[in-house]
């Protein structure tokens, strides 16, 4: 059965009429056509589908859309302000962390969830967050580099 569910996504109010058990990823990709959020596995193991729900990084492939009801969603498309990239995006683009780029949106959102709420996160916390994501291309080192670069920018930004 279909229900009306409202939320804000990337700063815009939206109302969808879907089965409340439908996974968030399918609403984001198929209903709202925001295809930046990726689908990489069948059982919530790869992390590519990560989005921000009410400030926290969640896997949209195992989160039913009803959990987003009246909530706030942020996807990779909502991170940049116009042409100005978010510090995490900028750092990840410059550190060599992007090869095929398929894991990138999920990783960027994971880091956003961590660093925006806890800019002083320890290296272990950053590594634990990255460990929830699979990347087959980069060997992870450039992603760690990018995360640390981003952290510096975010800390400096907050100090202003």
């Amino acid at each position: 059965m279909v229900e009306k569910i409202s939320f804000s996504i990337n700063g815009q109010p939206r109302e969808v009429e879907v089965d409340p058990e439908m996974m968030l990823i399918d609403v984001i990709r198929e209903v709202l056509s925001l295809t930046g959020t990726k689908h990489g596995c069948d059982n919530a193991t790869c992390g590519t589908c990560t989005v921000i729900l009410n400030g926290k990084a969640v896997k949209s492939c195992n989160t039913p859309v009803k959990k987003a009801s009246n909530g706030t969603l942020l996807t990779i498309e909502g991170l940049a302000k116009g042409k100005e990239l978010h510090p995490i995006q900028k750092s990840i683009a410059e550190s060599g962390a992007i090869q095929c780029g398929f894991c990138t949106p999920g990783i960027v959102m994971e880091l956003y969830g961590l660093l925006e709420s806890k800019p002083e996160a320890s290296e272990t916390e950053i590594n634990n967050a990255l460990n929830k994501h699979l990347c087959r291309c980069t060997g992870y080192e450039p992603i760690q580099d990018g995360a640390l670069m981003a952290q510096k920018i975010i800390i400096n930004r907050k100090n202003y």
């Binding site: 990489g40 596995c41 990239l85 992007i98 990347c135 080192e141 450039p142």
Partner: protein
């Protein structure tokens, strides 16, 4: 040599679109009227199909068409036409398409496909080539030998051997007469999955005007184009194939695979684009697997360590169709010598039909599998000879003047393996080894490696350059960007060749056979070398056009002119000049008459004098080699048997580094993939041919915390084929990790392993047995 743009870390042109989520991958494509396919896979890995009942499925909501292979009457393939788009009367592996549903949504298609009922008559299942080649084994293809195949292939009718490749150098096995010491062992590099994070998928659209348009997450649009045109009897020009961004390849999205299946399904609903994207499970069961190579190797040496003879049998479990595996076997066979010279070689490669999903390319293409054996054998031989293994290797490296198994002489241009080896030895083995402590054993292991592409006679890469009126440049090529970063490389090489800043060069994004210059396929670590050469050729032509126009404008001869990226000018008086802006579209004289050609050019490049094998299996079949050395520093946890790769070192002679950031990334990723193969990854089958671990939580690939810290260095002895001396590097880093880690295990605990992955259970068991 000093370059302006080569050797610097430019940021990839696709970084911004990828980091903002705007890059379009296959599953992101939405087309008007698009329908979705779901595919039924069999319950048996080998069976006759007795009956398919689709009646219930046809009644399901949203269903547009149910498709079976009942009337499918064609085979396809690039090397052996043994592939079929959908099962006709028999299934040969567990991921084979048996029937399909086309529906309005993915969900409806999936629900309907479950309603299809099939009656099978099971046949014996062979997962391992050793079983499939037994004398009385059931034939997986009764037609073996009758299929069209490349003239260089040698199928064995009446058996499950899809191809037999033999190479003889010198006296072959007769060479062992000259040996004082002989060792013989058997090694296994089991079946694995490339496991790109983006699964494979395609969209195919049969149009009312009798053309076909397709999209695929593949690296070979031109092969797909040619093959579809052949299968459906239309001119090649009437098939248009697009390649969007690709979310990783590592081999298994090369050759033609799922595209023909989706095309077959779509051919039943002309006028509608049909999309299919593999689930993760289907990516394991219904695309290509990799590896599956068992190497029996015998090496003979003189007492002083001089290698004299090698005999190897490469037994490749090629899967249910051999089109994609035959060349892997061949590369594994002729390059199984690793970076060593043997005067006498007797090498045999058998590609065997088995009842697993077809096996195809996996980054490394046969090299990591057979050189896993060679590099373990070097340690075993050194031990037997009572020699230092570095000394043994150094005596035998394929250095300048040596001749490889194929009969190709190595030149200084091929790079310096000894220099790579020395660097690794110095940085890893010159310090003291860590002593065992309460919790851990420590060990170090080394491997020297080499790789050539496995080319084809027509394996060319095209390039089209056009210069615009402001002097900026657009470049179009057919190379597929899978993440390796070729677009950055194109901009840098073109910048250097045209003396124009890479920022002014716009590199192509998607591939489209309607517009892209011809390229065979983007494989074999060949893009930088061949594609780069094509860019330089096209740039030279373009500069000549500019000079020809300028010669008319400046009233002189072409050879008196020079070009600096902004002007064409007189060599003896640079003040006599004309700007690029004035001549890029031809020069408009004061009376409006235009002279000269538009500044645009086309070129291509292939490997020089690549040839087919001769009667001894030799020939100019490698052409370009990159050599390197790698080492692992590991720790084994006593309690659990868990192996940690704490540090991994790689040194390659790449001729010329084009982009330091990207080349480091290639090695980082390549090493990590093979650490996965060595410690975790193996596609497990039960005796009935079912895959037991087709999910990421079962088939574990390395995570952030498991990736080793790496030291990566490059030596630059320029080659002669690639641009500015650059050689291929994309695949090479995957070769050394397995032998280096297993050599390190021996160093740590004195236990020899001959198979990967070395899981904690296996390690623990070995430790207990040793006590």
């Amino acid at each position: 040599m000093e370059y302006k743009y080569i050797g610097k870390s430019y940021i990839r042109p696709d970084a911004i679109s990828k980091v903002t989520g705007k890059a379009i991958y296959l599953d992101d494509i939405r087309l008007p009227g698009m329908l979705h396919a779901a595919i039924l896979h069999p319950e048996y890995a080998h069976a006759k199909i007795i009956n398919i009942d689709t009646s219930q499925a046809e009644l399901m909501p949203g269903v547009v068409k149910v498709v079976t292979g009942k009337n499918c009457n064609f085979h396809y393939g690039d090397n052996i036409k043994d592939l079929i788009p959908i099962a006709v009367d028999r299934v040969r592996h567990i991921g084979e398409p048996v029937a399909a549903v086309v529906a309005d949504t993915v969900q409806n298609a999936q629900k309907a496909v479950e309603k299809i009922r099939v009656v099978y008559e099971p046949l014996p299942v062979y997962v391992d080539a050793r079983d499939a080649i037994k004398k009385d084994s059931t034939l997986i293809h009764e037609e073996n030998g009758d299929y069209w195949h490349l003239p260089t292939l040698n199928p064995q009718p009446g058996t499950n051997v899809a191809n037999l490749y033999q190479l003889k150098k010198g006296k072959g096995s007769g060479g062992f007469e000259d040996a004082d010491v002989v060792i013989e062992e058997e090694f296994l590099y089991p079946l694995g999955s490339c496991a790109a994070i983006e699964t494979h998928g395609s969209i195919v659209w049969f149009k009312e005007d009798n053309t076909i348009e397709a999209w695929s997450s593949s690296i070979c649009p031109f092969i797909i184009r040619d093959d579809l045109a052949h299968s459906y009897g239309i001119p090649v020009s009437q098939v248009r194939v697009h390649i969007p961004e690709i979310g990783g390849c590592f081999g298994y999205k090369s050759d033609i695979t799922v595209e023909q299946t989706i095309a077959y399904i779509a051919s039943f609903v002309p006028g509608y684009p049909v999309k299919w994207v593999a689930s993760r499970a289907e990516d394991f069961t219904s695309t290509l697997l990799g590896h599956g190579i068992r190497t029996k190797m015998k090496i003979g040496a003189k007492k002083n360590g001089k290698l004299v003879a090698i005999k190897a049998e490469i037994l490749h479990s090629g899967g249910a169709y051999a089109d994609t595996s035959v060349n892997v076997t061949i590369a594994a066979t002729h390059n199984c010598t690793g970076p060593y010279e043997f005067e006498h070689c007797d090498l045999t490669g058998l590609t065997v039909y088995t009842n697993t999903p077809p096996v195809g390319a996996f980054r490394g293409y046969g090299h990591q599998e057979s050189q896993f054996a060679t590099e373990r054998m070097m340690e075993l031989l050194a031990r037997k000879l009572g020699m230092d293994s570095f000394t043994l290797r150094e005596m035998n490296y394929l250095s300048e003047g040596k001749v490889n198994s194929l009969g190709e002489t190595m030149w200084k241009l091929n790079g310096d393996i000894k220099a790579c080896s020395d660097k690794v030895k110095d940085s890893v083995f010159s310090k003291d080894k860590l002593n065992e402590d309460e919790n851990y054993f420590y060990g170090r292991g080394f491997a020297a490696v080499m790789k050539s592409p496995k080319g084809a006679p027509f394996s060319t890469k095209g390039c089209y350059i056009k210069m615009n009126i402001d002097g900026s440049v657009n470049i179009n090529m057919g190379g597929a960007e899978v993440g390796q970063g070729l677009r950055t490389i194109v901009a840098q090489i073109a910048g250097e060749a045209l003396k124009i800043a890479p920022e002014k060069i716009r590199v192509y994004t998607e591939l489209d056979t309607q517009f892209s210059p011809y390229e065979w396929q983007t494989i074999g670590s060949m893009f930088t070398t061949q594609g780069g050469r094509a860019i330089i050729r096209a740039a030279d032509k373009l500069i000549l056009i500019l000079k020809q126009t300028a010669a008319q404008v400046l009233k002189t001869d072409v050879d008196f002119l020079d070009y600096d990226g902004e002007f064409v000018f007189l060599k003896n008086d640079p003040s006599v000049r004309v700007s690029i802006e004035e001549i890029a579209r031809g020069y408009i004289t004061s009376d409006g008459i235009t002279i000269g050609e538009v500044a645009q050019s086309v070129s291509d490049a292939r490997l020089p004098r690549y040839s087919n094998p001769d009667k001894n299996g030799q020939g100019s079949m490698g052409v370009e080699y990159t050599f390197g050395a790698q080492a692992a520093e590991i720790r084994i946890e006593k309690k659990t048997g868990k192996i940690f790769v704490d540090h991994f070192t790689s040194v390659f002679d790449v001729g010329q580094v084009i982009n330091p950031l990207q080349i480091r990334g290639s090695v980082l990723g390549g090493v990590t993939i093979s650490v996965g193969a060595t410690l975790y990854e193996k596609v497990e089958f039960d005796t009935e041919g079912k895959i037991l671990n087709p999910q990421f939580f079962q088939y574990h690939i390395p995570t952030n915390k498991e990736a080793p810290k790496q030291t990566i260095e490059f030596i630059e002895n320029p080659g002669s084929v690639g641009p500015f001396g650059a050689r291929g590097i994309g695949e090479h880093p995957v070769i050394g990790p397995a032998p280096a880690i297993l050599n390190a295990i021996y160093d740590a605990v004195g236990v020899d392993f001959f198979e990967i992955p070395v899981t904690p259970e296996k390690m623990k068991k070995a430790l207990l047995e040793k006590q």
